[in-house]
Symmetry: C2
Subunit: 361 residues, 2 copies
DNA sequence: TTGTACGCGTTATCAA
DNA sequence: TTGATAACGCGTACAA
């Protein structure tokens, strides 16, 4: 009997055959029983023998054999930008747990590298290693690559709208930007600046659009600056703050595209001797646990990132199983939520009166 | 010919057979040529036909079939604690690139969940899904689970010493703690506290040991406090700072077990109106990009995390291939490096004179 | 109610 | 220099 045990790196593992022998039945039957095949009826005693044998031998199906036979690996890929920051941990967690619920494994990858680097792409995606891919979209320079990938693999774009027939799952980024802006307006700010995320990225533009729209409705104009760099980093956030405040002294508040950018902005504000929120308010679109430990604590608009991950997995599984023709999804529930902390307040007195007078309400 | 193409979710993929047919040779030969089998010599023209055919059909070997045949999945598992912070990104990157260099894929997992949750464990590790596992060790409550896992899978412990015959790869945590402490001593501090990492974790104890040793050599004693909680979070770091400063007013400097803890400490110091570094110095063991954006900028001791990841992969591959009997590794090169920023300085004047007088040198 | 037998795509052994 | 052929472990259509 021991001769039928499979050897793997010094360890022995039971296979279907050994279980079948121990239970005194055929391998086919064992397979059907263990896979809960509904249209197979057998004696309860046999079923018990089989299950007992499997347990006794500690049987676990061989993933590669099963994958080969089923032509399914049971693995979903998730490719994100900026893995070195914590901005997407919610998304990751949501996707991971949703995938696990369906018995799928999540393979994490760097979206930039995956799109740019061919060897990486083939290592991760080729040869049926993953059954489908969720990839962060919204960066124009990578759109073509993503389309290429999607031609060979069920693909869902996350954090951006779909394109070229590839379904997308995204959040209400515009609403989040609008919420941040209207909160600043409500506090009395009339001259507001924007600290951008990654240039030409969808999230950056959508969040900015929400801010612009809200300000326009109030008859105001958003102060921005174009940097050389790619943007979206703590460093760039600080640079932008400095640049805008140099050019537009009247600015009393900023919306930051994300917490990382906001962190850089807070840092530079401190360097310039600008007191937040007394002299300047800063609010971030996107929330992470770090916001609560910044100095001052960062006000933010929270977006349902976990939900995004869950929905993305659901959409991808639909696509894989061809259950439905998946359309674009924009997640509006739960809605973006304002989290007021310490980095926002009323504009400084002189500023309030003068701008109010100038712009009216 | 097209009939020989394999279908996978609407997409067609070439297999070995189709390449062989196009090249007019047998599948075995194609396999050997494409795998660069050294002890096979053939006509240059045939080789070219084969390579051309493979390229033409865009042939990529099927991962599951190859894994089944070779009894190797080509995937390494990496299980870490605290995935929601950025403390281990260096390790992750080092491991990822080292693995990729050897043609291996990295599967990321949460160490806690992997050790605790049986379904997760079987999803990730069972059935030959990974060829080996690197798992963060050093937490006593999980040691037994890790030993259990290692019985069934080539395993290397990272960030902690080995145990039960399982090889470990770790950094010179003690040296890092010692370096932080001696820097504070050199600045003139004589009463120093410690803000702990995760309780009963190896890194926490090793770093603390380094600090204690250095202080003992100078005839000083380290101020610590035991919390209820698990520790190692920004929240716990702040609590500890408050507790220690309440009990020991004379403390003028802290070593924080990591940047997350330090962040919480800076936050609470600000809340208490304690000026860093004027009234109090804080230095963190472990460096991340965030340190440079804290207020004040956080002084830190950098450890070669990337290297840790690289070495762990190398060790694991040795274990898998049974090339060597892998012993424990303690990485001392490059040595821990002091990064002086703004959160450290001389102790306040009154404190310096009094403690210097009291403790002597 | 259960067993048989084939094939998934690849690699390795043996033979020519 | 190249080709048959036999596994690897599993799932399933078909037969009994």
């Amino acid at each position: 009997l021991l001769a039928d045990l499979r050897e793997g790196g010094d360890r022995v593992t039971a296979n279907l055959k050994s279980v079948a022998e121990l239970a005194g039945v055929s391998t086919g039957l064992v397979s059907r029983v263990l896979n809960q095949d509904p249209n197979v009826s057998l004696r309860e005693s046999t079923r018990r023998r089989i299950v007992a044998a499997a347990k006794e031998l500690n049987y676990v199906p061989q993933a590669s054999a099963r994958a080969l036979r089923r032509n399914r690996s049971g693995v979903l890929g998730l490719a994100l930008h900026d893995l070195s920051s914590t901005v997407s941990v919610g998304l990751l967690e949501g996707a991971r747990s949703a995938a696990a619920d369906q018995g799928y494994l999540l393979l994490l990858a760097d979206a930039d590298e995956l799109a740019t680097n061919a060897p990486t792409r083939s290592l991760y995606l080729a040869g049926g290693r993953v059954d489908g891919l969720m990839i962060q979209g919204g960066r124009r320079d990578l759109d073509e690559r993503i389309a290429e990938i999607a031609r060979g693999l069920p693909t869902v774009i996350v954090k951006a709208p779909g394109q070229n027939g590839i379904p997308g799952v995204r959040l209400a980024e515009e609403d989040a930007g609008a919420l941040a802006a209207s909160y600043l307006l409500q506090l009395g700010h009339r001259s507001i600046g924007y600290l951008g995320g990654v240039r030409t990225s969808f999230t950056d533009e959508a969040r900015r659009d929400g801010v612009v729209q809200t300000l326009n409705d109030a008859g105001l104009v958003l102060r921005t600056v174009e940097l050389e760099s790619k943007g979206g980093t703590a460093h760039s956030g600080g640079l932008e703050l400095k640049a805008i405040m140099t050019e537009h002294r009247e600015v009393t508040a900023f919306v930051a595209a994300n917490v990382v950018v906001a962190m850089g902005a807070l840092r530079v504000a401190a360097d310039l001797g600008i007191s937040v929120p007394r002299d300047l308010s800063i609010i971030s679109v996107q929330e992470t646990w770090t916001a609560d430990f910044m100095i001052p604590r960062l006000s933010a608009v929270a977006l349902p990132m976990r939900r995004l991950g869950e929905v993305a997995v659901a959409q991808l599984l639909c696509l894989i199983n061809e259950d439905s023709a998946p359309a674009d999804v924009r997640i509006t529930e739960p809605a973006p939520a304002l989290i007021c902390r310490e980095s926002t307040g009323a504009p400084p007195q002189n500023s309030v009166s003068s701008s109010s007078a100038a712009f009216g309400a």
